[in-house]
Amino acid sequence: MLTGHLDALFRTALRLCRGHEADAEDLLQDAVLRALDGYAQLREPSAARSWLFTILSRTHLNRLRAQRRRAEMVSADLDDPSFEAALADWAPSPSPADDVEIGQLGEQLTRALDGLPPELRSVVLLVDVEGFTQREAAGMVGVPEGTVASRLFRARRQLRATLQAPARDARLGRHQ
């Protein structure tokens, strides 16, 4: 069960720990031992992936909470009016033709992701990278769906700058 998901769990742990491999390994080990301890809670083997990521996310959150107060973690979440205002302020992206090659982006995106606050980073990893639905991600990190939506929007807004900057630079280069 674990073997099939180990790579995905490792890379998620690695990014949750901002690329620190030793921390990621500790996190993964802690999560796996918790999974072994709580195996009886897994009712449906087909849900193993989601279950393992839930344990990984919760273990990471518990570690963060041990480092700082919860109030500090959630203080940045937007209330509904602020979220709607932010949605309305969205400036359209350039056309897809202006996008830079994917291969050039990996490292920059990784750095940008590492620079996001942990609560934003985890939803991007779960939803955008690992393909979980926002409902699933909400269950994994233990917040309402609306909060996941708000965090995902804010994260994408910050990451978009990274995704667009190389294209803008490339365009400038072409015109010079």
């Binding site: 180990l6 890379r11 301890d37 709607e84």
Partner: protein
């Protein structure tokens, strides 16, 4: 008319079919007439795709897998030793994990009663995980190791000698209802196991001496077949290193077999039990001993 922010809030994220309330219907009407909102929804979809495509997807390094599975094996051993309810729960949970893991790998945990595994490499890798609890011979002497195995198996085992590897001993393994040999080494601080098992035709999918590299249960397995036997090296080492060791092993076996195939020119065998002679059914490839 609905504001853009409210319409976007109602329709994003798209969580699948939902009840068409008056507000949702209004939001859809708004978006159908609002290019900015259409662009917003398109941007969200496209950004998600771009992030998914651009994010590097590294595999867990072999070293990490190695350490993780050792931790699991240790937890399993500790759980089995426990007597309290918590320990029993641990043991039950771990057994269930192993059963599910075994099913995923396509192997049987109870090979005595089960049908032959469809994935012998998976079974081999699983056995490698159990080495901490094995009872066998602890020896760094290849002659003693060869004799110990010869006393217990219906075929002889050539003990490979690898550069930089230290022989630790041998044990027996039971995979797919057949007994086999395992020779254990330590190389660069990591455990390395050499398996020799009677082959089940067509199971490993290799032709003679074609090395197949696979990952099972967090370990690399390099396997090949030769003269009706499956040979495998299992370790938490990089695949390339394991393949190098496999080539070294094959070369060593070939040299040994060539030497045995021309007995008049050979010096007296130093490593083998005197009862061991060249097997008539596989001349030049394997020595069988007569009881």
């Amino acid at each position: 008319m609905l504001a853009c922010g409210r319409a976007r809030r109602l329709l994003w994220p798209d969580t699948g079919p939902r009840e068409a309330t008056a507000e949702i219907v209004a939001a859809r009407e708004h978006v159908s007439r609002c290019p900015a909102c259409q662009r917003f929804l398109d941007d969200m979809r496209r950004l998600s795709e771009r992030i998914r495509e651009a994010m590097p997807r590294p595999e867990a390094p072999v070293e990490v897998r190695d350490r993780l599975f050792k931790v699991i094996a240790r937890a399993r051993t500790d759980g089995a030793r426990g007597t309290g309810p918590r320990h029993r729960l641990w043991a039950a949970g771990l057994a269930a994990v192993l059963l599910v893991g075994g099913a995923w790998l396509g192997l049987s945990i109870t090979p005595e009663r089960g049908t032959p595994s469809r994935d012998p490499l998976g079974a081999i890798a699983e056995d490698h995980l159990r080495t901490q609890r094995h009872t066998g011979l602890a020896s760094s002497d290849s002659l003693e190791t060869a004799r110990w195995l010869a006393d217990r198996l219906p075929f002889a085992v050539e003990i490979p000698i690898f550069p930089e590897a230290q022989l630790k001993g041998a044990r027996l393994v039971f995979v797919n209802r057949q007994s086999g040999a395992v020779v254990d080494y330590v190389i660069a601080g990591r455990s390395l196991s050499y398996y020799l098992l009677p082959a089940i035709e067509g199971e490993t999918g290799t032709t003679a001496r074609e090395i197949r590299l696979a990952s099972r249960a967090g370990y690399r397995v390099a396997a090949w077949e030769d003269a009706g036997f499956t040979h495998a090296l299992v370790a938490g080492l990089p695949g390339q290193k394991l393949v190098e060791l496999a080539h070294y092993c094959i070369k060593q076996m070939t040299a040994a077999v060539a030497a045995w195939a021309t007995p008049p020119r050979l010096p007296a065998p130093a490593l083998l039990d005197p009862r061991i002679v060249l097997g008539p059914e596989n001349p030049g490839t394997r020595r069988d001993f007569h009881l």
